[in-house]
């Protein structure tokens, strides 16, 4: 398959770009929810508009009421989310959550998919328990209790955790913390007793929560996939999250680069547009090249994932690492090239810097994924 959009994909991209420029802009979304100290950190109105456009079902099979598209298409949406810094539960709900639900029982699907599809529900995924991404380590205990389970433990920095109607939780049902087996995915509804959220606002104004599970009782229908056999589904969720956030990072990089080159084309110092200075031109040209390459890597990873290729895992890590480093360069150059005003909250470039940092951390930073590339390549 060639690495450029089909006509359908190009049309989707146009639609989403126009819609997001109109509705998802920094002022009307990010700044608005930040400055009003919204406890969700995002707007439910926009989330329902996403649903009206069908975007929430982009990865949901047509049979289940979705659009039945793939990661390439999800990436198109996420790139625009990134470009506009739009706070949105799209990634955790429509990408990672939907990937989890695809493996769930009809009962669970019936309970949660309608809300996802109509924009009335939000999902969040609780995997990591430490400060660095490490899905190989799942310690939160789910002991058998009657026909169900009793959960005890913590999950750290769950994005949209307290806003989510349902948490997809990776729990240890047998074996040791780092065992691949013995891990079970559970759908934990918001209102169940014993779940405590400590809300935290992150640097990019997104809301996350540290979640404590204190003898939380769930019945057996909460299980997604097989008991002790959640790893494969978790891998799919994780891959979807990683490649999705890669596209979002590419969007962040492009957005930051766009306002930076615009600034270079208008700001004057020493009687010249600063974009005339060759040192800045070369750095901008290098940055362009990095963003283009990151974009290609994310695109390729999405194609491989959609095709079910065995090379997908490696390429997903390449994409996440490359998108992180390109976006990091884009925001660092962006702030520096803006000079003093780039340091002010009044300008948007600093917001890109904050978002880049959070997204780079989310689902494994560049170093984590470089390490994965080494391991998967056998060194």
């Amino acid at each position: 398959m060639p690495l450029y959009h089909t006509d359908d994909q190009a049309m989707l991209a146009d639609t989403v770009r126009t819609f997001m420029a109109e509705q998802g802009g920094i002022k009307s979304q990010l700044r608005h929810w930040r400055d009003t100290e919204c406890p969700d950190g995002f707007g439910h109105g926009l989330w329902r508009q996403f649903a009206e456009l069908g975007l929430n079902g982009i990865l949901v099979p047509e049979a289940d009421g979705g659009l039945g598209m793939g990661h390439v298409e999800a990436g198109i949406v996420l790139a625009e989310i990134g470009r506009n810094l739009t706070p949105s539960p799209f990634l955790t709900t429509a990408v990672m959550g939907a990937t989890a639900l695809a493996a769930a029982s009809d009962e669970l699907k019936g309970r949660w998919l309608p809300g996802v599809l109509d924009g009335n529900a939000v999902l969040a995924v609780a995997i990591d328990e430490g400060t660095k991404h490490d899905p190989q380590r799942i310690a939160l205990k789910a002991e058998r209790a009657g026909k169900g389970f009793r959960l005890s433990g913590t999950k750290s920095c769950v994005i949209h955790g307290a806003s989510a109607d349902c948490l997809i939780v990776a729990a240890r049902t047998s074996g040791d913390d780092r065992d691949a087996d013995g891990m079970t995915l559970l759908a934990v509804p918001k209102d169940v007793a014993g779940v405590r959220h400590d809300r935290i606002r992150l640097v990019d104004s997104a809301m996350a929560s540290h979640v404590t599970f204190d003898n939380v009782e769930l019945d057996g229908s909460a299980v997604i996939g097989a008991v002790d056999g959640g790893r494969e589904v978790l891998n799919r969720i994780v891959a979807a999250g990683r490649v999705g956030v890669s596209s979002e990072l590419v969007g962040v990089a492009s957005g930051a680069f766009g306002i930076t080159t615009a600034y270079l084309q208008t700001r004057k110092q020493f009687d010249r547009l600063i974009g005339e200075f060759q040192a800045l031109q070369h750095r901008a040209a290098h940055l362009y090249s990095e963003i283009e390459i990151a974009h290609a890597a994310a695109y390729k990873a999405q194609q491989l994932l959609d095709a079910g290729s065995p090379d997908a895992e490696l390429m997903v890590s390449v994409a996440k690492a490359k998108a992180s480093s390109a976006a990091n360069l884009a925001v660092r150059e962006g702030v520096q090239m803006h000079g003093g005003v780039g340091m002010t909250d009044e300008f948007d470039i600093g917001l890109y810097m904050k978002r880049e940092r959070a997204l780079t951390e989310f689902m494994g930073d560049g170093n984590y994924h470089a390490g994965r590339v080494a391991e998967l390549s056998g060194y």
Partner: protein, 387 residues
């Protein structure tokens, strides 16, 4: 006993007697320091006492002449004072742009009357100053500044806008670069002093990406400035500014050098952070650069003190030091993972790590951007053509 030993003895006793116990702890933030000024609220009685006792002895500005409020110490004596204060962890009695910036300019360019008039209140912490240099259109290209002082015979009428005026909202007076000749770029700027309480002066604090900041925007709307409130000659304020810029860069680069270099990897390990193998490699490569830069700081400081340093070398120090600091904070954020992303939580000290990281991004912009530093190195040290 040598004369210097006797002096040390005297200082030691004086400090013992006069430095309050509360003032023998390090300053933890800018607001913890003593800034003085007309409207200043002392953090404690001890802070007030310490400032006033030092001022009475001239120890807020030890090397200034006594007639201007200093103690008239020699360089060696001043070093003894610093050493003895450091020995008991005594705080600086007074933080002040008047001492750091305006004072040196007045001592170098001011008339005798001006020195008598302005320096004493600075030394005593009675008048707090701010610096009016940058403008929205004039950052790196400072000399293009537009704030204009119209000549009205015995006074100027100043109109315009400054930006990045630290503590403009708290300062009593401002030293300010004002264009007094529109036809002449470099020789059309004057270095004016005026009261921030003058009619027509307003300030607005600037919110940074890291949060609240001491920086302000400052607006001048027909501000009247008497003709004697100028340092140096009319239209020759750029000379004063250049003198102070050199002074400032030297100060910034010297500050960097003062700290003892420590290993970032060791510090993170002490914090209980386990480093991912790739991050460990990056931290190790950073530590190499940081420890090497510490040697450079020591060398630069030794050379500067003995008059051996190239006069443009502070530009190199500022460039390398600030870029290094930004890199350090990037690595610290990576090491901290999601904990370092917290912005307001108590556990994160109100987002100390993330705010600190963002604040470092200004290091390579304020006081001359990295790009300007590289231009200066290319021109003044490497002698590259047309630089």
């Amino acid at each position: 006993m040598s004369e210097l030993d006797a002096f040390r003895h005297e200082i030691r006793s004086w400090l013992e007697e006069n430095c309050p116990a509360e003032m023998r702890r390090p300053v933890t933030s800018e607001s913890d320091a003593c800034w003085g000024g007309r409207n200043y609220t002392f953090q404690s009685e001890a802070q007030r006492q310490w400032m006033e006792r030092c001022a009475a002895r001239g120890f807020t500005v030890p090397m200034w002449p006594t007639e201007y409020g200093g103690a008239g110490l020699s360089a060696e004596q001043a070093k003894v004072l610093r050493e003895e204060m450091a020995r008991i962890n005594a705080r600086s009695p007074l933080s002040s742009f008047g001492i750091w910036m305006l004072g040196p300019a007045l001592l170098h360019f001011g008339t005798h009357e001006q020195k008598l008039h302005y320096l004493q209140p600075i030394a005593r912490g009675e008048i707090r100053w701010c610096q009016g240099y940058s403008e929205p259109g004039s950052g790196s290209d400072l000399v293009s500044l537009q704030t204009f002082g119209e000549d009205r015979g015995d006074h100027w009428v100043v109109n315009g806008q400054k930006i990045w005026t630290s503590y403009a909202d708290k300062a009593d007076w401002i030293f300010c670069l004002v264009r007094t000749d529109k036809a002449n770029k470099y020789q059309g700027i004057s270095f004016l002093l005026f009261d921030m309480a003058s009619e027509g002066v307003t300030t607005r604090p600037i919110r940074l990406i890291s949060g609240a900041s001491p920086f302000c925007e400052t607006f001048f709307d027909n501000v009247k400035v008497p003709k004697d409130q100028i340092v140096g000659e009319v239209n020759r304020g750029w000379d004063v500014a250049k003198y102070l810029l050199g002074h400032e860069r030297e100060m910034i680069s010297a500050t960097g050098g003062g700290e003892r270099a420590t290993s970032l990897g060791a510090e993170l390990t002490r914090q209980g952070i386990e480093l991912d193998p790739v991050l460990r490699a990056q931290v190790a490569l950073y530590d190499v650069d940081a420890l090497a830069f510490a040697a450079m700081s020591e060398k630069f400081s030794d050379e500067a003190r003995s008059g051996r340093a190239h006069p443009a070398q502070p530009n190199m120090m500022k460039y390398a030091g600030t870029e290094l600091n930004k890199r350090k904070h990037e690595l610290t954020m990576m090491a901290g993972g999601t904990a370092a992303l917290e912005w307001e939580s108590e556990a994160s000290g109100g987002g100390a790590r993330s705010r600190g990281w963002l604040r470092t991004k200004a290091n390579s912009i304020e006081g001359g951007t990295s790009e300007i530093m590289l231009n200066v190195i290319a021109k003044r040290i490497l002698d590259l053509p047309g630089a």
